[in-house]
């Protein structure tokens, strides 16, 4: 069968299955299998088993369940209240009020987590119930979380930057440092937007600020932030003190949060098992979707669909700026159906040669790709942050996606900014090279 027809058939098949309530992971696997059969490859079962075994045992993914577990443990402590009480006096008078807690705590947590799903899950578990209780606009609470959860990928450590660095042969240490300023830029954009929104929609925020925003209250509240900053200091300290690698730091994070839970008296046999079962639920869901995406990726690799698309773009002979524009659209469309890691793994081999020949810096391109992947995390039907937030809130995916739309556009603004001023990406790595 002609490849165009196969592509259309697969896309339609996927849409129909998803619409009629087939589980996302099952759909990805079924469509992958269908793709293989249509390409006259009949070793579907064997390819699934070996491919999944490879995907499920990957070293970089071992940190994922640990960071999720860490979130579940922290969720059962007083940390969420503390975070609020600690940040509230500082943010109570800022337009948008405690919505900024979502953004700031995602930004802080991203410094210890390598994945955006884990960041959204951990912070969302802490902040969403609290924001709802205090009467904040649910839509904005979800939107800020979906948007800033993606910071987990940009602010180092980052699983996706590792994947890109390996595939594109760019130094991972440099990529990590390059992600820091764009991460801060995104935080500023998100907070700026939230302030403007807060200014315009005072009716969707709790009318009275119960928080005491005097300076004495602010400094007293800093004590509340000690446990969380202590934990982050513990994890970062173990990385920069030469005790652990960023991947292993997840185990330090779990240990730290268990100690924290024990110290605050919230660690019991029951809460330990509950936190573990909670982690199982999210980790298995994400893990099986990753396995499904990996299998679909494999099938598309056999079919040659992504490489055909990329070659078609290459054949147009575009200027760097137009190329970046086209690639953004291409990645966003692809990102609607595939997870970020698959998008990178699948396309890097084909896209990089043309990026290189257009004279685009590969380090810069890595950060660009992460920003685009961040956008894909919040676009339906396949977007990990959407799934995570759907499972946290029970809101349907389109509602979550709509809430996240402004943040999708803000990431697009960040892409325009780093294209205009590439120094945002390249400045820190150049100063890092030894003097």
């Amino acid at each position: 069968m002609d490849m165009t027809w196969i592509s259309i058939l697969l896309a339609v098949g996927m849409l129909v299955m998803l619409t009629f309530g087939v589980w996302v992971s099952f759909t990805l696997i079924a469509i992958g299998g269908l793709g293989l059969i249509l390409s006259e490859n009949y070793q579907v079962g064997m390819l699934f088993a070996t491919g999944s075994w490879g995907a499920a045992t990957s070293w970089s993914l071992t940190a994922l369940p640990l960071f999720i577990w860490m979130g579940e443990v922290l969720f059962r402590t007083r940390l969420s209240e503390d975070l609020f009480e600690g940040l509230a006096p500082w943010l109570g008078k800022v337009p948008g009020k405690l919505l900024h807690v979502n953004i700031l705590s995602c930004g802080i947590f991203a410094a210890v987590s390598g994945s955006s799903a884990a960041t959204a899950a951990t912070i969302g578990r802490m902040t969403l119930p609290e924001l709802r209780k205090q009467g904040y606009s649910e839509r904005m609470a979800i939107g800020t979380l979906a948007g800033s959860g993606t910071l987990g990928l940009l602010i180092p450590p980052s699983i996706i930057l590792i994947v890109y660095g390996v595939a594109a042969e760019v130094s991972i240490a440099r990529l990590f440092i390059a992600g820091a300023l764009p991460g801060l830029l995104l935080i500023c954009l998100f907070m700026g937007f939230t302030m403007i929104w807060g200014h315009l929609h005072k009716d969707e925020l709790p009318s009275t600020t119960t928080q005491d925003t005097s300076w004495s209250a602010r400094f007293k509240s800093l004590g509340k932030l000690l446990p969380v900053t202590g934990l982050i200091g513990f994890v970062l300290g173990s990385i920069y003190g030469g005790l652990t690698t960023p991947t292993e730091a997840a185990a330090i994070g779990v240990t730290g949060s268990l100690i924290l839970a024990a110290c605050t008296g919230s660690l019991t046999r029951q809460s330990f098992i509950d936190s573990l079962l909670g982690a199982v639920k999210s980790a298995c869901m994400i893990g099986f979707i990753l396995i499904g995406a990996h299998f679909l990726t494999l099938a598309m690799g056999f079919l040659g669909i992504p490489s055909a698309l990329a070659q078609w773009i290459a054949s147009l002979g575009l200027s760097p700026i137009v190329l970046i524009l086209y690639l953004t659209v291409f990645f966003v469309v692809l990102g609607c159906f595939l997870d970020g890691i698959s998008v990178v793994v699948l396309t890097v081999a084909v896209v990089l040669p043309m990026v290189k020949s257009a004279g685009i810096d590969l380090l810069w391109f890595g950060i660009f790709i992460v920003l685009v992947v961040e956008m894909s995390q919040i676009t339906p039907p396949v977007g990990f942050n959407l799934f995570v937030i759907q499972s946290l809130t029970g809101k349907n995916i389109l509602y979550v996606a709509k809430a996240a739309l402004p943040f999708f556009l803000l990431i697009a603004v960040a892409i325009i900014l780093i294209t205009w001023f590439p120094e945002i990406v390249t400045y820190l790595p150049t100063t890092m090279s030894k003097g």
């Binding site: 070996t50 920069y240 030469g242 690698t245 960023p246 991947t247």
Partner: protein, 305 residues
């Protein structure tokens, strides 16, 4: 027309992958498109560790692997991972000629056929501080990722330390490790100058990628196409041994250009390392005395000539 899928573990910048592309191109041209080999580089289709199994079971027809990863299946696959056994490209070629029959036999047992091998530049020593003798490394932490690299670290008086590849830069800059043994190509790929200063050209061993094909898939080809594949394989191997020499020099130059200190090992260091090599050769032989004995006998004959 027949279409084969060929997964490779390394990215397009690496020599083995480039040779694979040339190999595929030559076959497509010479068979007038009767056999098309689609190269999927950088583990994009199949993860490195799964490639041998995928070829063995026929999920893909052909694949490129780093030969050392089969070392646990059969110790003969480790012949190019034994430190200081073959340290120049000439010696490495002689060792390959000596080991080839055993490799072919072992692959054949698993339903696979050897097509060609492409060498990597020699594995050398990356350290934070300059090294004149093993005393300079005493008690430092060296990266180990296999029993033989761990044993090597032991014998060098260092502490073997496990670090996964993505974590290497961070591990150096935060002091988790102070030394590792890897090729100049890998050093260039990972921009080693960002995190480590000294490169000592000890040429510990010269590992190879091999390209293997599923026996049944190969048998199904027409006789004349089989011949074209074998001829292309021969060209690929010749090209690989030829290009690796300049590639090794170029990669070493790149390391120097980016500010790394490149040095030859001192006489003392060389003597110490050769002694370690002897110990490890003996230990390796003990793993499969018959097969490895045959490899070593043939190797010393080849060198003697």
């Amino acid at each position: 027309a027949e279409k084969w899928h060929m997964p490779t573990p390394y990215g397009d910048g690496n020599l083995p992958t480039q040779i694979d592309y040339a190999f595929a191109k030559e076959i497509k041209a010479k068979t007038n498109g009767e056999l098309e080999i689609v190269v999927h580089s950088g583990g994009s289709l199949v993860k490195h560790t799964e490639i041998p199994r995928s070829v063995k079971t026929g999920q893909v027809q052909i694949g490129d692997i780093f030969m050392g990863i089969l070392g646990n299946q059969n110790p003969v696959f480790k012949h190019d991972n034994i430190p200081f056994l073959a340290t120049s490209f000439d010696q490495a070629q002689a060792l390959w000629a000596a080991a080839k029959p055993e490799i072919e036999k072992a692959l054949d047992k698993d339903g696979m056929k050897l097509l060609y091998a492409v060498p990597w530049p020699a594995q050398s020593l990356y350290t934070r501080n300059p090294v004149n003798s093993l005393a300079d490394l005493e008690g430092e932490k060296m990266r180990a990722y296999s029993p033989s690299t761990s044993r090597l670290a032991d014998l060098m008086g260092t502490i073997p330390t496990t670090i996964q590849v993505p974590d290497i830069p961070q591990a150096f800059s935060t002091g988790i490790i102070q030394a590792m043994v890897t090729s100049p190509s890998t050093g260039v790929d990972s921009q080693a100058w960002d995190y480590v200063n000294n490169y000592t050209d000890i040429k510990a061993w010269i590992p190879k990628d091999i390209v293997i094909v599923n026996k049944r898939a190969f048998r199904r080809l027409d006789k004349n196409i089989q011949d074209i594949v074998l001829a292309a394989a021969k060209n690929a191997e010749t090209e690989g041994w030829k290009r690796i020499v300049e590639r090794a020099a170029k990669d070493k130059a790149t390391l120097a250009e980016n500010g790394m200190t490149i040095s030859e090992p001192s006489a003392e260091l060389t003597t110490q390392l050769e002694a370690i090599g002897k110990t490890m050769e003996t230990e390796w032989t003990a793993e499969a005395p018959k097969e490895i004995g045959r490899i070593l006998t043939r190797y010393h004959q080849e060198l003697g000539q």
